[in-house]
Subunit: 327 residues, 2 copies
């Protein structure tokens, strides 16, 4: 059974978006539920999601295992898997990893753009790799079945984590830097190491990660995916759109500035363009997933390759990596 899975979104969630997911045939999505929120604030976000699950049972369900993707598919709904884009939700407490996993968290980035207690983000000028606490936390994430995500991490930290983790990790939303040189895109070295350890890359549609930005063509995007497949193998590449649907620009300011500075940090933007960039015409919202599948087919990929990239690869990854180690 073919499934469509998006490896990362952060929408301003609403019935409208859930209906658009159904229109786009999205069977499962990894959603960011927390950036710089601490544990208690993250629990408040989970509480808000619980209300959405209760309110829209015909459209969404809370995804905890790979089986929930198939349940969603067979009942015409979207399975929503929780993830965090920073380690703030676990504060300084390794014991919160298991607690957060029990609450449904399946992905956690060790860093956002800055240094965390665990590792270094891609906006720091120096990268000292996994910290003492970082090593402890990766081992704990491996134990309980929480996936390490290094999308926003710096290169050395990423390579060390790929190597140190006893289970495969992901870069859920980024593109190859050889296609578009951006701080958030990843070197061939990282992508090859990720694939060699059975990790997954989710390719992003966020304009700052695209060659040509908002004007990037679908053909160019598909050529990038083909290049990633050449580097990593077709089974290690998937989709992670980084779609931030219907979000106000205040949200991108929170992502970039959190509580770490009193100034404005523009991250991938700049003072003249501080907000969310316009999406490419071929991927404006959740209704447009099949445009990507169509583009890949037209680019010459086989049905099997397209099925893997559009969701099958994530599904197999979920099957192996959301439960306790060795289970």
């Amino acid at each position: 059974m073919n499934v469509t899975i998006d490896g990362m979104q952060y929408g301003n969630w609403s019935e409208k978006i859930f209906r658009e997911m159904r229109a786009g045939g999205v069977d499962a999505v990894h959603v960011t539920i927390t950036y710089h929120e601490n544990f208690r604030e993250t629990v408040a976000n989970i509480r808000a999601w619980n209300l959405l699950f209760e309110r829209y049972p015909d459209l969404i369900l809370h995804g905890r295992t790979a089986a929930d993707v198939l349940l969603a598919k067979s009942t015409g709904r979207t399975a929503v898997f929780f993830g965090s884009q920073n380690a703030s939700c676990m504060e300084d407490d390794i014991g919160l990893i298991e607690v957060l996993h029990t609450l449904g968290l399946r992905f956690m980035q060790l860093t956002y753009n800055n240094q965390s207690l665990l590792a270094t983000g891609c906006y720091e000028s120096e990268d000292a790799g996994l910290t003492r606490m970082g090593r402890e936390v990766v081992a704990e994430m491996n134990r309980v079945g929480m996936v390490v995500d290094m999308s926003h991490s710096a290169e050395r930290s990423t390579l060390e984590t790929i190597d140190y983790s006893t289970r495969p990790i992901v870069i859920s939303h980024a593109n190859p830097a050889c296609w578009h040189r951006a701080k958030r895109n990843k070197s061939d070295t990282v992508l090859k190491a990720l694939a060699a350890h059975d990790g997954l890359l989710g390719v992003s549609t966020y304009p700052h990660h695209l060659a040509g930005g908002s004007s990037c063509t679908l053909e160019s995007y598909c050529s990038m995916i083909a290049r990633a497949v050449d580097l990593m193998g077709a089974s290690q590449v998937a989709i992670g759109t980084d779609l931030c649907q219907d979000q106000p620009d205040s949200v991108v300011e929170w992502m970039r500035c959190g509580r770490w500075t009193k100034k404005i940090d523009y991250g991938e933007g700049n003072a003249a363009a501080p907000g969310f960039p316009a999406m490419p015409v071929w991927f404006n919202d959740n209704r447009d997933f099949q445009n990507i599948a169509q583009g890949l087919r037209e680019f010459g990929m086989s049905g099997e390759e397209v099925a893997g990239i559009m969701g099958g690869n994530w599904l197999r990854f979920f099957e192996r990596n959301f439960g306790p180690e060795g289970a």
Copy 2:
């Protein structure tokens, strides 16, 4: 007027200790009120201190400015100044620096032994220096008059912070590594840079920082102070005993392990000797400060030098560095 000031203690506070401080002639002390406690937990510790100030008004008072040292001296009490040994109390929020300063916090270490959001601790294998957030926070501490303490930090982070900070910083409790090579003791390079930027070293009596450990003689200790004076100048050296009076060993486990690991980390101790080491006979508790003064005089230091080291240097430092920048 000569004063006696201790640059760092973490006692299991009681009327007994406060009376011993009076017996030892301690006019002021910088006490650690928080290690890995988050903001709310730190506030609970401040609340506990407020109760002590209310309960023992004849013995102690809450120190906020240098004038409080003189008030304490003239009324036969000890002024207690608050400090933190890690940045946990500010969590990830730069806005909490001013809040904590208003609540009385006058010192904050940027790191304990591990990597923090701000800088690197001395137990990490790699030290990438001040982070993006670290630079923002040092500037904010400079602005409000909270003193940066790098006692537990790694070398590069310490040197960068000495240089980056617009106000002098301290190493409130450590000794020269040239006297006793220990992870927590400091290189000549660090001590000279600290002094060149008008910073202060508080020399420690914690046995792991002493040549000969618990058996260290007073003469050897005074020779170490003389060496620090040679390196830094007599006005840049003071006392910071690191005295942890009446604490159970569970406390040293909290200091070392916090919530970052599920294993036991022995820090400066080891599995055979996991607890607090025995203090040297000439400095067992707060009644013994005048032994150090006597030792320094017998070592040949002038009355002026001894007065500076025993408290005058801290007093001048407090005068200049506890208020808003430029005030």
